[in-house]
């Protein structure tokens, strides 16, 4: 029983971070329809910003977090302006190839600058975990869970309750009509990509100190983010959050009670099932086709 409770706690902590990874990508992949292969690198980028600010500049951990989010926002804006804007209107394959190129170039860039040796970031949290009866969890992971919940809430409100969010949804639903209604479509494209990117960087900045930081850390994260987005339904923030927790639950219980060798396969088995039985994702609203 105590093992089961520990798995549930692990699921909660892991699910929060998966949800954060998912919502950033669902904005870009789900709403903008850009197959964003740079999501993982932006995650890595956020983690390295933490490393620079905390370890190299010696500044405060909590100050470093907004710096990483801002840096992710800027890098996202630059990618949109230089790579995606000239490609707007071209087919999905071309965009995908360019994004794959950007991913490889940026990942090699991090390897070139920081080398392959993993880095770690010191945190102000105590090393001794919080022990609650038979289960224990580290303070840092609890903080990450709380921060992720806050970021998810802010994103949800931004998309669903603000005029910027309304303009975003309008733009990607019907680009021409939105433009006729006076929406600055170019600005919307850039800011959506930048917000999605800043969320990826935020996830990296929060998880980098939990794990270790190295150039390939974003690869697995990106694969999982895609899985979560497909699971939850493209462009659906609530779906991405629930998808994140489902993936974490599948991994925890799969590794705990089936076989740890297939841990990373569990999530994908669920996705195959979802694609067979509910191809639009678990939480996609019914849509009119054509």
């Amino acid at each position: 029983m105590s093992e089961f409770l520990q798995h549930l706690i692990n699921m909660l902590v892991l699910g929060g971070t998966y949800a954060l990874l998912g919502i950033g990508l669902t904005l870009i992949f789900g709403i903008m329809n850009v197959v964003n292969f740079t999501h993982g690198v932006l995650y890595t980028f956020g983690a390295y910003i933490m490393f620079i600010v905390v370890q190299q500049l010696g500044l405060n951990f909590f100050l470093a977090l907004p710096v990483a989010v801002l840096a992710g926002w800027l890098l996202g804006a630059v990618i949109e302006l230089t790579l995606l804007r000239p490609l707007r209107g071209s087919d999905i394959d071309t965009t995908m190839l360019v994004m794959i190129g950007a991913w490889i170039a940026m990942q090699s860039g991090t390897l070139w600058i920081w080398g392959g040796v993993a880095k770690s970031v010191a945190t102000p949290f105590p090393e001794a975990p919080l022990v609650l009866g038979p289960v224990s969890v580290s303070w840092l992971r609890l903080f990450v869970l709380a921060a992720a919940a806050l970021l998810i809430l802010v994103t949800y409100l931004l998309i669903n309750k603000t005029s910027l969010g309304r303009a975003m949804r309008a733009t990607f639903q019907d680009h021409d009509t939105a433009s006729l209604m006076g929406v600055n479509v170019d600005m919307i494209y850039t800011s959506t990509f930048a917000i999605g990117s800043s969320l990826a960087a935020a996830a990296g900045a929060l998880l980098g100190p939990v794990y270790v930081i190295f150039p390939q850390m974003g690869d697995l994260a990106a694969v999982k983010a895609f899985a979560i987005v497909i699971l939850g339904g493209l462009g659906n923030i609530t779906g991405a959050v629930i998808g994140g927790f489902i993936l974490a639950l599948a991994e925890e219980l799969g590794a705990g009670y089936v076989s740890s060798g297939y841990r990373d396969a569990m999530g994908f088995l669920i996705i195959i099932a979802v694609l067979i039985f509910r191809p639009t994702g678990l939480f996609a609203r019914a849509e009119r086709v054509g």
């Binding site: 105590s2 093992e3 520990q6 798995h7 692990n10 902590v13 892991l14 090699s108 390897l111 080398g115 392959g116 040796v117 993993a118 770690s120 090393e127 975990p129 022990v131 224990s136 969890v137 580290s138 840092l140 992971r141 794990y211 270790v212 190295f214 150039p215 390939q216 850390m217 690869d219 697995l220 991994e251 925890e252 799969g254 590794a255 705990g256 076989s259 740890s260 060798g261 841990r263 990373d264």
Partner: protein, 384 residues
């Protein structure tokens, strides 16, 4: 404009020709290591160690009157790439001998290419037993296979009073091979084997596996993986309040990096390692060890990398000694000469003994294995 552009390939061709002519003045050794991907850090250390050996040999006048030239290729921590890179080194760069390929799965992928092109390879790091037991006569290994590690560990299991042991290993030939060899040795000693858990090469969160191990009734966990995952495991085990004794194997732990990154979580962990850069005087060849460590520091590399890089240094010296003995830089002659090599390695004499099925034996050297413990952020040696 078109004509001007036409010049470019001509210049390139000329450069290539001159380059090729210059290349004939050197003896090439192919180096097949992971410089990107999950094992980038370790592979880079090994290559830097290899460069120290090449520079040392060249400073003393090279071999057979020629300088050594390392042709270094990145296998991207990927078995498919490792095989492709080996083929490129042999067919296009015409190297007569290789060193590689760090990981067991990487080395196993390269092995059929060695058979195909009849070119020998010095294996510097891999520890899966399969490498020297499947009958590939082009393999000459200087690192200990996991069975040798297990045998060395045998002496201390009584002292540690092991009763029941769980395993947490990387899900590849290296990890699964270690779990197999250590289980066999421990069963013979009457130790119960509990859980055997695995983790993927790039996995970052091992909490699920560790939670399972936490609930088992074993008192010791044997962990096999490279340094980055070890760091994560120690941190996550501490966060879960896992209080079992942890012993790591495989020799790719870089204990200094673990201490720096896992902090207090690393205290009390034990590690089976194949080099003692912290105690040069206790190594089999103190003079060479001191030279290597001084040179490593002089080049500004991280001391933590010594436990990996010495293999690249030893591997290149073994290959160079074989070329010298062969008297010519040809694959068949080098392969024959490797059997007669006797090099004073940083971790014991490098002498290849026959291993595997008769008639097509691989070469296996018998390096030393040590047990160290991290206590209060410092490394202490345990006697085996």
């Amino acid at each position: 404009m078109t004509r001007a552009l036409g010049l470019v390939p001509t210049i390139a061709l000329a450069t290539a020709l001159f380059g090729g002519a210059a290349g004939a003045q050197t003896i090439k050794i192919g180096v097949n290591e992971p410089l990107t991907g999950a094992f980038a850090a370790s592979g880079t250390y090994v290559v830097n160690g290899a460069k120290i050996a090449a520079d040392e040999i060249n400073a003393k006048g090279g071999i057979l009157g020629k300088k050594i030239e390392l042709v270094i290729e990145d296998n991207k921590s990927n078995p498919t790439e490792a095989a492709a890179v080996a083929e490129k080194l042999i067919t296009s760069d015409k190297v007569p001998v290789l060193m590689g390929a760090w990981g067991s799965s990487l080395t196993l992928a390269v092995m059929p290419k060695l058979m195909e092109y009849e070119t020998p390879m010095v294996v510097e790091t891999s520890s899966s037993g399969k490498i020297t037991t499947t009958g590939n006569p082009f393999i000459f290994r200087i690192s200990p296979p996991s069975a040798v590690e297990a045998a060395a560990f045998k002496g201390i299991v009584d002292k540690l009073a092991l009763k029941k042991v769980d395993f947490l290993v990387i899900n590849n030939d290296w990890g699964r091979g270690t779990a197999e060899d250590f289980s066999k040795m421990m069963k013979d000693k009457g130790i119960t084997i509990g859980l055997v858990e695995t983790m993927d090469q790039g996995a970052q969160d091992m909490s699920a596996q560790l939670s399972k191990i936490k609930s088992s009734d074993s008192e010791t966990v044997i962990v096999t993986t490279a340094v980055d995952q070890l760091t994560l495991i120690f941190k996550q085990a501490a966060a879960l309040g896992l209080k079992k004794r942890i012993i790591t194997t495989g020799g790719s732990q870089n204990p200094d990096q673990i201490i720096a990154q896992a902090g207090a979580a690393a205290n009390g962990t034990m590690h089976l390692t194949t080099f003692l850069p912290w105690f040069p005087d206790k190594t089999p060849n103190p003079e060479a060890t001191n030279y290597f460590i001084t040179e490593w520091k002089k080049r500004g590399f991280d001391f933590a990398g010594c436990t990996e890089s010495f293999r690249g240094y030893d591997g290149i010296r073994a290959a160079a000694a074989a070329i010298e003995k062969a008297g010519k830089a040809e694959p068949a002659a080098i392969k024959a000469a490797l059997w007669d090599v006797k090099v004073k390695g940083l971790n014991g004499d490098i002498v290849f003994r026959k291993s595997g099925p008769e008639g097509k034996e691989s070469g296996q050297s018998q390096p030393n294995v040590y047990l160290i413990e991290i206590a209060d952020g410092k490394i202490e040696m345990k006697t085996l």
